[in-house]
Symmetry: C2
Subunit: 285 residues, 2 copies
């Protein structure tokens, strides 16, 4: 493996990592979505193992050596343009001090289709209006740990492949299948009908006190967990729109203390997904 | 109520809010702990209603007027030094652009004692080594919503009254009782014995696969929830120390998908607290 050392921060071979704080959402690239950037060994490894084609790998000399000394990683990184650079150089290129000293950039891969990602899925999460990149990242991280097969994007959500989402998700946005519903405004609701036709029970998560407690809502009349569940969650604050909730089979809530605020959307989703895991794995096994 | 307008950013009456990004942990004050700073209407209201004595209230003119036009808030703010100032002035004082335009500063109140906060408590959370201010804030927010009576600090935790913790907690660090165990290193473990003597079942939350699933660990042999539970959680990454876990009655885990990372500490605590709520309120009522 050939590693070229670069000491000139203006070298165009480092352009993938230029001014990351301001430009990682690059509208100049095809699709207007920019590159996928991974930071740190754990997430860079997950990017290398993902379906996103890695273009460039850079790092401090010692960090790169250590990372690439692992045979399975050297295999994944074979043929990728790899450059070593000093901490000061990287800071000048990226615009911030990247103390973890390892970065990779990949092209976006074609988006997966809805039918494809739900084909064998039994638990999916549907997001509406979740515009915060960190919340998107946290939802992927929690979903990956709690048995979710796919994340589906309704209207008004932030880009899951934005650098901050990738980081907060611990790289799980690169691993957990996701797809977007087609259509804006309420047109994406036709995709909810597709979920119903595929046998999913549609559950809206809401703090409203008239909703059914989670430990009932996820089970049929005999207390048996539904075979397929789509859990819908909305943005912190506004929550799911009424029009969307009307399309679902049931509204579920987390029992909360009186007079408190609703939970963060990623935390609320994690609790619902825990209840789903609990019901499907008696005594957690 | 007299509101004085200040246009000079060097006015010493604004010193409580000076350079907040770098100095809100002020060792020059008695106790070396600095002031308690609240940002935005929701959290400022919670600070005014708390046991922390508010010293100063500042805001943009329109924000202050709107805030103080609420009679219950005007009552709480009576007699407090209140200054209006423009956005640019506040930005120069605080060192960042505070777009919510309302800030309050309070002195620290004497810490509560352990015996006092556990006296009538039935669910408490014990933290060990949780050094991240945002995680501390999230834990308070989740605990407030999910029926916790007190938070107890073991060794190596961050300051819950730091500005960022206050903000992330939505002000719940100002409302939910908390106390610190006495003693550093492992000496604080004597406090765990005090919890046991007070009838608490001590539950360590850990991702270890030999631990007992949560929906068993929080219940006695007959499936009845323990009357009093102390849930112990450790920092993300290292988790609870082995020495601490040995002092507890049981080790509990959240059933997770194979090959994934552990959850964020505040998320894991929220899930355990949901299970606690669920068990105590059949069908969530």
């Amino acid at each position: 493996m050939i590693i070229t050392h670069i000491s000139d921060p203006t070298d165009p071979r480092l352009d993938d990592f230029r001014d990351l704080k301001h430009s990682d959402n690059r509208p100049d690239l095809p699709g207007g979505k920019g590159l996928v950037i991974a930071e740190g060994p754990l997430i860079v490894e997950r990017l290398l193992a993902s379906r996103y084609p890695v273009r460039t790998l850079v790092g401090f000399p010692a960090k790169l050596d250590k990372f690439l000394s692992q045979p399975h990683i050297a295999d994944l990184a074979a043929g990728i343009d790899t450059y070593s650079l000093d901490r000061e150089t990287l800071a000048q290129v990226a615009g911030y001090d990247m103390h973890r000293g390892l970065l990779a950039a990949a092209n976006r891969a074609p988006e997966l289709g809805l039918s494809e990602v739900i084909k064998t899925a039994t638990t999916v999460v549907v997001l509406e209006g979740v515009g915060d990149h960190e919340n998107i990242g946290s939802i992927f991280r929690n979903a990956a740990g709690l048995g979710v097969d796919a994340i589906l994007f309704g209207n008004g959500c932030a880009d899951p492949l934005y650098r901050r989402s990738v980081r907060v998700s611990m790289g799980h946005v690169l691993r957990l299948p996701h797809a977007s519903f087609e259509g804006k405004h309420t047109n994406w609701h036709y995709g909810l009908d597709q979920l119903k036709e595929s046998g999913f029970q549609l559950v809206s998560l809401t703090p409203h006190e008239d909703a059914v407690p989670l430990d009932q809502a996820l089970y049929d009349g005999n207390g048996v967990p539904y075979e397929k569940i789509a859990l819908l969650v909305g943005a912190e604050g506004p929550g799911l729109t009424e029009r969307t909730m009307r399309r679902t089979d049931i509204r579920a809530r987390i029992p909360m203390s009186a007079g408190t605020d609703s939970l963060n959307v990623a935390t609320a989703a994690a609790i619902a997904l825990y209840e789903r895991q609990r019901g499907r794995m008696p005594h957690g096994e």
